[in-house]
Symmetry: C2
Subunit: 153 residues, 2 copies
DNA sequence: TCGCATTGATTGAAGTTTCAACAAATATTC
DNA sequence: GAATATTTGTTGAAACTTCAATCAATGCGA
């Protein structure tokens, strides 16, 4: 058992600011999206990933990976999005275990509206209140974090 | 209705890196804490805030504010922590509507153990993979974000 | 090819969070 | 000071996520 390396004052301050800020940001963005379009961030993320995929279609496992969600969670959530008519599921030609999720026409139209409001909120509470150099630092840092998490799995 | 100001390429890259990285970070920290101590980050946060309060005690409303949680959520969560014997609730002397949540002796001892593992994980996946200057930028940026969210409520 | 492990996705139950409604105590207004 | 409004905290139900179990299809080794 090795000695605990506690955070120094500056590290602690920055870490705490991040924890609080990120929770409140997620909260306000979620609330905004839910109030205006009845979507959570997780659902929105799914629609975005699908919209960017070839043919606006992805296998469930890939979609789960892109959207940083468990497969189980994705199954439930896609079921809900399917009920709303925003996504459709179909079997995958090659591998008959696979299931494709596809953004419907209606889903795409819906997303176009939601994206406008969402980007405005992202600007209001994130991009526009952060110094551009600091934003670059955030991008760098969280890319490194994601890689490290990936590596450890 | 004003024209949508989309993000430019760099902003979009940084924002996306943040979204993905922060979700994965929260995920791995949650998993670690749950596996080793049976706590979620939200529960851990509550214990930390209590541990730092005078007499290790706070009113529910203050605790909710510090821990960035809704009062309802806090009620439920504190009920669970109370069952585990980590927190105790008592009435507030001055204002008889108020309820004090207090960290028990056992809760404090428990937190001391959990904090060691948690800080190690925070280092492994966050602090130690980020350039110190970038960490400072993150602290600055998210303090601004938190303030902006606060302002808009 | 047969058996067995692995992969892909779903399911239902248990646990957690959100939402709206509520009750009790305190503040405010007239 | 009685009536009304606000604040504090809890509650139960609905919505969502997690967890473990399951099923079907595929891959693999003998």
């Amino acid at each position: 058992m090795t000695e605990t390396r506690w955070l120094d004052a500056a590290q602690q301050r920055d870490w705490r600011a991040y924890v609080e800020g990120s929770v409140r940001l997620a909260d306000v963005l979620d609330r905004d999206l839910k109030a205006k379009h009845g979507l959570t961030m997780a659902e929105y993320e799914i629609l975005v990933r699908l919209s960017e995929a070839p043919d606006r279609r992805l296998r469930m496992a890939e979609l789960a990976e892109f959207a940083s969600q468990s497969r189980s969670r994705l199954s439930h959530t896609v079921a809900r999005l399917e009920c709303k008519g925003l996504v459709a599921r179909g079997t995958c030609g090659a591998d008959r275990r696979g299931v494709n999720a596809e953004l419907t026409h209606q889903g795409f139209a819906f997303l176009e509206q939601a994206a406008r409001d969402h980007v405005a909120a992202v600007r209001e509470f994130f991009v526009d209140v952060i110094d551009p150099a600091d934003l670059g630092a955030i991008g760098r840092a969280f890319a490194a974090v994601a890689e490290q998490v990936q590596k450890a799995r």
